[in-house]
Amino acid sequence: MMRIIELIVRFKEYVVLCVLVAMSFLLMTFGNAAKLRGFRIILISGVGLLQESLAWLPNPLTILSDNAALREANYRLSREVAQTRRAVAENERFRSLLQFRDSADYAVLPARVVGRIMDKSRYYLTLNVGVLDSVVAGMPILNDRGLVGFVFSSARHNAIVQTILDKDTRIAAKVERSRVNGIVSWEGGTALYLTNVSKTEDVKEGDVVVTSDYSSRYPADIIIGRVVEKKDEPTTLFWRLRIEPAVHFPSVEYVFVGLQPPDEERLMVEDLLEKRLKKGDGNRENSTRARDAIREANRLNREASKEAIKEAERQAVRDSIKNARERQNAPKDSTEEN
């Protein structure tokens, strides 16, 4: 026994080491006991309180990294806010588009603007719909705000839209309030003009201008814009009425195609008349042919033979389309090349 005690005293450091190591292992194994856990909770709570009381102290070594992290977070949050704003705006736009589609009394096809072609005197849009979606040349294009233009040409999957901001724009229109008729045309920039409105007619600034029932290309009562300026030019008998388009063209992203092709016959006759007025006697051969076709259709109508009327109408349409194609051959070719 004495020898054992002697040995322990002699190697007391090693004995203490062994005891402490064994105690450490025991604590590591059973340290999670309920009693110890309670003690630790008290200790950690105390430390937490201390840390909280010193939380106001700035840590100079982490200020720079904190700053960088905060800047990064700020940038990320700013981007998220911008994205959210965009999403809200898009949501509102879609809602108004849906409302418009539901309220339209004619079939419409939604389409997305996938491209824009602009030059000094033209403003074209490219849509993601085409012939395969039953979109053909001449169909009106509109959105929830108003009139956009018409389908200028159509390919299998895409269509080109000629907007109303075009030098060739001539739209039969009327002032919504007073039902005064006129013709909307474009003279450059983003403004349109309502012409042929006599100074005796009732037109005010702020009046809404819509498409007229006389329009051969567009459905009636589609908003074109609002009168923003009424000028009295002493040299003419007409008002000079500047219209701000209802559609904001640079931001147009979604539109509707009115799935009703224009009345080809009517278009052709009007075109011929316009040509004739411009060129005097104009293309006599074409106008004679068209006139004959219409006369034939009227004659058959008088005979009250439905079958004959249909056939004559078909013939008239065929003739008129043929004429129109002949007339449009040159510009169509150039469009296809584009």
Binding site: K12, V16, L20, S24, M28, L43, L50, L61
Partner: protein, 164 residues
């Protein structure tokens, strides 16, 4: 302080204060998440002044205290510190304590013991995980040892000045 009881009480109070400082103030001097082991410096100091056995008990107590306040596995720091201080105890020279703590030998002993401490501590710390031990030790163990060594220069310089 010639009275050993008073000396031990002073050591205990210092240990308590250092334990609190470790969890409350040391994070303020952390560099990229690396913090010095103040409690180990203190335990080695005790070992070099009081001998291996007292040092081991101090190391064990310091380790337990640290485990308790740092929400670590109880016993892991105690084990690492006991073994590290046991090694430090071999450098104890009776009657020449100040020579050891007031010279560059002190930070060297701290560096050696700190490295050993971190090997043992991270071995148990990483055992339940799939983290690669060597990689983790080289990243945190060595840097912690270096930072602890640098901090141990403060008591060394203090004693060195007192000697002069």
């Amino acid at each position: 302080m010639n009275n050993p009881v008073l000396r031990y009480i002073a050591y205990a109070v210092a240990a308590l204060l250092l334990a609190v400082a470790t969890v409350v103030l040391v994070p303020f001097i952390a560099i990229d998440g690396i913090v010095p082991d103040v409690m180990l410096i203190w335990a080695i100091w005790v070992a070099l002044n009081e001998g291996q056995m007292i040092g081991m008990i101090a190391g064990f107590g310091a380790g337990l205290l640290f485990d308790a306040v740092s929400a670590d596995v109880i016993g892991s720091n105690a084990l690492a510190k006991v073994i590290a201080v046991f090694v430090a105890g071999y450098f104890y020279l009776e009657t020449r304590e100040r020579e050891m703590t007031g010279s560059l030998r002190f930070p060297m002993i701290v560096a050696l013991c700190s490295a050993l401490h971190n090997v043992i501590y991270y071995f148990f710390y990483l055992r339940p995980t799939e983290i690669h031990f060597l990689q983790f030790f080289l990243r945190y163990g060595t840097l912690t040892a270096v930072y602890t060594t640098v901090l141990s220069l403060i008591p060394m310089l203090s004693i060195s000045r007192q000697k002069e």
